[in-house]
Amino acid sequence: MSTILKKTELASKIWQIEVEAPRIAEKALPGHFVVVMADAFGERVPLTIADFDRQAGTITLVMMVVGASSLKLSRLEEGDEFYALIGPLGHPSEIKPLDRVVMVAGGVGAAPIFPIARAYQQQGTEVVTVQGARSADLLFWTDRLASVSVEHVITTDDGSAGRRGLVTEPLAEQLAADSEKRIGGVYAIGPTPMMKFCAKTTEPFCVPTVVSLNSIMIDGTGMCGGCRVTVAKKTLFTCVDGPEFDGHQVDWDSLMSRQRTYHTQEGFAFGRMLAEPAPLNENILLRQNEEV
């Protein structure tokens, strides 16, 4: 169980990992996430279930290397097992009966947004996807997203693919052009500032906007309270009350300052791990004897 069956580098530092997890696959729905640990020394890292295959009993994770723990996870090879893998956690996405939705994916957000877009497309909703990345080589799953969309717009910061600029521009255009008010909802998943600005963009149009918050987590089951966020002036726990929330009600500054809590320490750990020469598994063997 929790064996890595397949690992592919989709783009620089972005890995697609297919994991054997029959019990999780059986219950997984769009919007669910898992918590994983690379080894006995690892952090508990939340990752969205980007796809699942109930028949094969597998789930697909897509992870960007941003720090020590994601780096460590990315070093696990096919055939290795996660030390821990739990899920499916959180509320699944609520797939509402809408005429048209706009899905905005920033960077690695393309993965978690895909199963939601697909669920909308399968129920007959017209899906417009706006996919953004820093540059062309960081784009992935464009074909998958295109296959479930009536319209698929790509933006890059440097113009190396699609339009030059930010995802909020095509988003605003879509809403402005929607004179018949057919767009019943917007989803924005990606880096926190991107989600914040998407929510700001849709606010004047009064279109319900769902964001998937990535607060720092430990247990993922509502026990620790570390993942708390302020939404509509109330404190909620991302892992059990979310991870999807009304983007117009999120206190973004509070979320971002909580995400920065371990900035210095994580930076140090990342540097240390980048420099660590031995392959991960040998480290585990070496260090196993020390474990109490």
Binding site: S2, A84, I86, D219, C224, V292
Partner: protein, 470 residues
């Protein structure tokens, strides 16, 4: 060897405060054989032992203490184990002063027999002996009955149920959400108070008896409780999922960086070993000025942990006075010795942050004691216009919690009380046939021994149910 006076209790040797605030090793060091015998011989072997009524599981206290006094320590350990499967833990964490020792006849003179210390000694002696002489399990399980029991949650209540039922020949599987078994004993109570090895040993012992541990399984998510009964082939389910869900006060600034709920702070340090960062990957904020909000065991654990993580000043901010602190007396005493400051009659109004969104101060209301409330304790009332502002770069909120909803919300037909805790009958049975419950998820945050007692009662009834079923 130290003896307080002729009739007094034999004091337990401890790491001195200035040493122990630099490590996470256990504070009390345990009795040696002679100290234990001396202390045991103070017991009057009462005909009607009131101490026993004070123990929630009615350990036969005079009997086991008598055996220690005679040097028959292995038998003493076996005697305790008849009623309490985790004496090494209970000897350390039970609030003895309001339980067994509080009811000892010698308590009136202020020198009750050190029952907890002796319990701990007997347990340690037995496991030490077993380690050296390779003694097998105390009991051999009964022949297999072919009946399967699922235990949800590997805390003290769940472990007790698992142990009692595996001994009776049932096939027991424990499902635990975390990657380690033990519940609060592993992720909540710090190493310096309850070494993880003790809990680990009990879990290994249960595994040796045949209990299967399915870690990393959140019941109610991957598998529902009803599926355990209907699809996974279990004949009975015990829910021991604990209280979970920490509370907040709902005051401004609670979500600033550097403001922790105690569950998160303690889980990072204990389960994830953040004190050993960066060898372990999980980080923790190390504050210089730490404010801990609350006055229970959880608050003491958080404060003493912060002290060990380089804090210069740690204050317990508590709205009543020292006399009302709900924590075990020993924890308060140890905290005081370690230089923890008690800022009593003080209640937070607001947390103030810096421009980076990190906490920097706590604005507090000064209180005074008014009329007694329903619990008989004097109610704290605000002194109008009197406030205090404390510097704090780390705040830990330890003001209790609510019912863990993951299992209860998803289990159809399960009767809950108005606070969402599970309702059970006197045998631990819930409103759903085939499902029992016990521990903190029934009582709200309570104690280790009460959770174990609840597990014992439920196990008895589950056993009866399984025998009748055919």
């Amino acid at each position: 060897m130290k003896k307080s006076d002729k009739t007094g209790r034999v004091a337990m040797p401890e790491q001195p405060p200035e040493v122990r605030i630099r490590n996470f090793d256990e504070v009390p060091l345990g009795y040696d054989d002679e100290q234990a015998r001396t202390e045991a011989s103070r017991c009057l072997q009462c005909k009607k032992p009131s101490c026993r009524d004070g123990c929630p599981v009615q350990v036969d206290i005079p009997a086991f203490i008598g055996l220690i006094a005679e040097g028959r320590v292995l038998e003493a350990a076996a005697k305790i184990k008849e009623d309490n499967c985790l004496p090494a833990a209970c000897g350390r964490v039970c609030p003895q002063e309001i339980q067994c020792e509080g009811r000892c006849v010698l308590a009136k003179k202020g020198t009750p027999v050190a029952i907890g210390n002796l319990e701990r000694y007997a347990a340690h002696y037995a496991s030490d002996h077993a380690a050296r002489h390779g003694l097998g399990p105390f009991v051999t399980p009964a022949p297999p009955t072919g009946k399967r029991v699922a235990v949800v949650g590997a805390g003290p209540s769940g472990l007790t149920v698992a142990g009692d039922l595996v001994r009776r020949g049932h096939d027991v599987t424990v499902f635990e959400a975390f990657h380690k078994a033990g519940g609060v004993l592993i992720y909540g109570i710090p190493e310096f108070r309850l070494p993880k090895r003790i809990v680990q040993e009990e879990v290994e012992y249960l595994a040796a008896l045949g209990v299967r541990f399915e870690l990393n399984h959140v019941i109610g998510k991957a598998i529902s409780v009803h599926e355990l009964l209907e699809k996974e082939g279990f004949d009975a389910v015990f829910l021991g999922v604990g209280a979970g869900l920490p509370s907040l006060m709902g005051i401004p600034g609670e979500n600033l960086g550097g403001v922790y709920l105690a569950n998160e702070y303690l889980t990072r340090v204990n389960l994830m070993r953040a004190y050993d960062f960066p060898r372990y990957d999980t980080p923790i904020v190390r504050g210089r000025n730490v404010c801990v909000i609350g006055g229970g065991n959880v608050a003491m654990d958080a404060a003493r942990t912060a002290r060990r993580l380089d804090a210069e000043q740690v204050s317990i901010v508590y709205r009543r006075s020292v006399d009302e602190l709900p924590a075990r007396a020993e924890e308060v005493h140890h905290a005081q010795e370690e230089g923890i400051h008690f800022k009593t009659l003080c209640s937070p109004l607001e947390y103030l942050g810096d421009d980076r969104g990190m906490v920097k101060q706590v604005r507090c209301q000064i209180m005074e004691l008014g009329e007694p409330d329903a619990s008989g304790r004097r109610r704290p009332v605000p002194v109008p216009g009197k406030e205090a502002t404390l510097d704090a770069d780390l705040v830990i909120i330890a003001i209790g919690g609510n019912a863990n909803p993951i299992v209860t919300r998803q289990t159809e037909g399960l009767a809950l009380n108005k606070h969402d805790y599970i309702t059970i009958d006197e045998n631990g049975a819930t409103s759903v046939p085939g499902i029992w419950a016990g521990g903190d998820i029934v009582t709200g945050s309570a104690t280790v021994i009460l959770a174990m007692g609840a597990g014992r009662i439920a196990a008895q009834d589950i056993h009866r149910f399984l025998c009748e079923r055919n």
